[in-house]
């Protein structure tokens, strides 16, 4: 225990001496959350629309204003020719185009079937799906109106209606879903970045020999190295969570003790991962490269932060089990959004414990072999 403290104090002194690094580790995560919390959302509005109206009737104008008044579309251009639509979409000036055929008004009011064309730029499939859904809803509600006018449909409306009720996040605000993910992501990057160089640095600079000669065991060394970062990151993380609650309306429906427990377990695991990388690498450059490749994209894409794991192919779902952020996210969302207790997310906490134990012991084993 005394040895661990000695290493911890030494590491802490080094951090404190490097004032810039301390400031970065404490404040930058909060700054990043602030910026991205505002920047990121999936709520799509003001879709830029071009219209080619070949009918110019009351009905066609009604349809166009239904699009504009919905609040989802913004009329950018009225065009005469198809080439103009091609040019506008190629240059990203509009995302969608509405083409109303000739005789649209006469057909619709006399009950003859007619079709309007909606052209969507599909380069971003996610946005395109949403745009398509908005357009289809608008067209079908106009259709229902004309059907009633032409006495074709039942005036009582459709035979089935869907009454959706959304739990945990009734307004479906994407911030509530993204902010926990951002917290996990920023934490992961901070933890790995702060420890990935710490051991390999001593190797490269030659100071490792001195540590090796001292009576400190590998495990004590690894634990001692991570304690100061653990304290700093824990403080910074609690700051982030409070910030998210104050600014983005992140609720806190569960228990604080559980939250701190989950954060701590995740931090120990990720800090130890950084240390493991540090023991594996011979040079700081290699450590940096491994740390980046293991944290940046995998945490973004395989943790369930943005892409739901259930939609992934089965082999990839298996791969996600080695991404620690996956477990942390389940626990974090369960605590703050759902307010459920440990009986629901204990398997995820257990997985975090296993991950932390595994990385810590691998790192110290690896170091032991090197020192032997």
């Amino acid at each position: 225990m005394r040895k661990i403290r000695a290493i911890g104090v030494k590491e802490l002194r080094q951090i404190v001496r490097d004032r810039a690094r301390l400031v970065i580790l404490i404040f930058v995560p909060a700054l990043l959350l602030l910026l991205y919390g505002y920047a990121l959302n999936f709520d799509i509005r003001d879709i830029r629309l071009a219209v080619k109206d070949q009918d110019r009737s009351t009905e066609s104008r009604e349809l166009i204003s239904a699009f504009v008044n919905s609040g989802y579309f913004q009329l950018i251009a009225v065009v005469e020719r198809d080439e103009a639509i091609v040019r506008l979409i190629d240059r990203n000036e509009v995302r969608a185009a509405l083409v109303i055929p000739p005789r649209f008004g006469r057909d619709a009011s006399t009950g003859r079937r007619t079709t309007v064309q909606v052209i969507i730029n599909g380069d971003n499939a996610n946005t395109a799906t949403t745009v398509m859904a908005y357009a289809l809803t608008l067209v079908s509600s106009m259709s229902a109106r004309y059907e009633v006018q032409a006495r074709l449909g039942s005036p009582a409306g459709p035979a089935l209606v869907l009454e959706p009720r959304v739990w945990y996040n009734p307004e479906l605000r994407s911030a509530l879903f993204l902010v926990p993910g951002l917290i996990a992501y920023i934490l992961m990057i901070t933890a790995v970045v702060s420890t990935a160089l710490s051991i390999v640095r001593e190797k490269e600079m030659g100071t490792m020999e001195q540590v090796r000669m001292s009576p400190i065991g590998p495990l004590a060394y690894v634990v001692g190295k991570s304690v100061p970062y653990f304290v700093i990151s824990l403080l910074s993380c609690i700051g982030i969570v409070l910030l998210a609650m104050a600014l983005f309306g992140l609720p806190m429906r569960g228990s604080w003790a559980m939250l701190v427990l989950a954060i701590s377990l995740f931090l120990v695991g990720t800090l130890a991962l950084g240390l493991l990388i540090s023991t594996l690498a011979e040079t700081q450059q290699v450590a940096f490269q491994i740390a980046l490749l293991m944290s940046y994209l995998p945490t973004l894409m395989l943790s369930g932060f943005i892409f739901p794991i259930t939609s992934m192919p089965p082999f990839l779902q298996v791969v996600t089990y080695v991404v620690p952020a996956r477990y942390f996210l389940v626990a974090l969302r369960a605590i703050v959004l759902k307010g459920v207790g440990i009986e629901v997310f204990w398997p995820d906490l257990l997985a975090l414990v296993v991950f932390a134990a595994l990385t810590l012991s691998l790192a110290s084993l690896r170091l032991k072999r090197e020192w032997a």
């Binding site: 505002y38 949403t130 059907e147 290699v286 940096f288 395989l302 939609s311």
Partner: protein, 371 residues
Amino acid sequence: MTRLGHLMRKEFLELRQDPKLFGIVIVAPILQLTMLGYAATTDVKNVPMVVVDEDRSVESRELISRFDASANFVVVASATSIDEVNAYLDHGRAWVALDIPADYSERIRRGEQAALQVVADGSDANSTNVALGYAGSLVAGYAREVAAAHGRGQPLPLVGADVRVWFNPRLESRDFMIPGILALLLLVVTTNLSSMAIVREKELGTLEQLAVTPLARWELITGKLLPYAVLGMIDVLLVVSVALLWFEVPLRGSFALLLAMCAVYLLSTLGLGLFVSTISSTQQQAMITTSFFFLLPMVFLAGFIFPIENMPDAIQPLTYLIPLRYFLVILRGIFLKGVGLETLWPEALALFAWGAIVLLLATLRSSKRLG
């Protein structure tokens, strides 16, 4: 020129001496693209659903089988009352619950309106939104069929919508995401390589030795840049092949233009790394600067996953400072739209200018003297 040659030879020799680094730089991008390419789908499939069938009729079972048969939903359980749904959603065993009221079949037969309740877990707001959209259109389509079968209304709406999705008709999010992953992988690998290039010599003390040679500043930067650029272009060829051959992302534009633009992009990523390397005094500083101040903004603000047009007006101007923003437009333009320089020249110009400026800054900052 021979001085430059010597420096480049030294860099290559150093790279060869570090086989681990070489292996990572070559193998990791291929491996990652292959895996992440599969993850990058925003399509919502197999949403686990729990059903509360209070009616237990032929009609209600028909409706349930419609949900189960669609690719978007999987019925994982059935509950006897709406109160049981709670536990399923809390544990995350189901994302949506469908409640069919007891008088469902009777109302359908009488031609009255029946209300179905759907309870959804909103903690993943994006997927829930999409899933509710699927449920809505599934029910609407089924309602038309039911109405038509009972002689009320027609099976097809009076005003149909003919939706044409350009560039990506199957709405495959993979085709959109893979060029983005490719760009990010190149960024991570190459910026890292060059961000350590100069500061490493500083920290190890070998920059002193370079300082006493007659090497000019621009020669130092160029000599560091070119070997990594060669390595970067190898990576470009590898990841582009994975995208084209493994994922079969369509390449509608010119292959030569694609490679040329990748080279311009590497100029900016490597230049950025070199710039960081000249302003840092330790490798750790270089790593922190690169990861926090350059890589994270690029991941989130360049339009890789989150469209720039959705961002608040105050933040949108910031995105113009990010080279990846221009490169993404170029990549997606070449891959999906098949457009050429006649459309993409503003982005190409911006990307090139970015690279040139950052390299110039790196050259100016690289004093050969220490401290």
